[in-house]
Amino acid sequence: MTTPIRQPVPGKALIVLGCPEVPSQQALALHVAWSLRTQGTSVHAAGNPAVLNLLKVSDPEKRYLPEMQVLEKCIEEIVEKKRDADLCIVFAHNDAGISYAATMRHLLPASRLVVIIFGKDPEALAALVDFPCEKIVEKAVHNPMQLKRKINEVFGWAA
């Protein structure tokens, strides 16, 4: 895990979500969005339709995630310079998640990139990351609490 460094509060954050088959992801996405919004950061999330629907059901009044869109559209907007972010947080629990993180590193070279690597075998996945980013690595499938603690440490949020 990266040593926490006090960072300026980002104006815009992008949360990139993976496939929702690992349930801790959705809970942590809402936690991260809430924590960022509490500190004054505007938050946008991108994912596949399944994960977006899960979040919409959990957040019917859009208190945590007011802005969401499908990943393909988000990537299109970033490539076309219609969207950017000071902070990009990618949830990765499989090889595809690392591919999306690498893509964000390339498309948003000036952004702070934090890759949250979780699931059943996060260490093996973390070994695939050979591009500049901060990694938060924790075995987390159903129980988000240990990973939440690490995320809070990295971002300097109270437990």
Partner: protein, 95 residues
């Protein structure tokens, strides 16, 4: 798979292949291959992956990795002479 799903494609490596396996397969099995970066547009979709992304060309067929969040990366082949020519003009030879 979005627009690409509607095209006539050949599955060269099945779902669940890693992006590194896809790159190595293209480099080892195709005499003509090119490199692009993530965000390169192919068949109206933006290619995802760890740069450099290897694209193979076999005649008019383009071999490319296609990533979906739930499944990982597939290596697909699609015949399209115009798109193959566009890759030759816009991609690079060096990693």
């Amino acid at each position: 798979m979005g627009c690409i799903e509607n095209l006539k494609y050949e599955m060269i490596l099945p779902l669940g292949a890693s992006f590194k396996e896809c790159r190595e397969y293209v480099e080892k099995n195709f005499s003509e291959f090119w490199y692009v970066d993530p965000g390169y547009k192919l068949f109206d979709e933006y290619i995802i992956g760890l740069p450099p992304i290897a694209l193979g060309i076999d005649g008019a067929k383009i071999i490319f990795p296609y990533t979906k969040p739930c499944h990982g990366t597939y290596l697909l082949g699609i015949e399209d002479e115009k798109e193959a020519d566009r890759v030759r003009k816009t991609a690079r030879k060096k990693k």
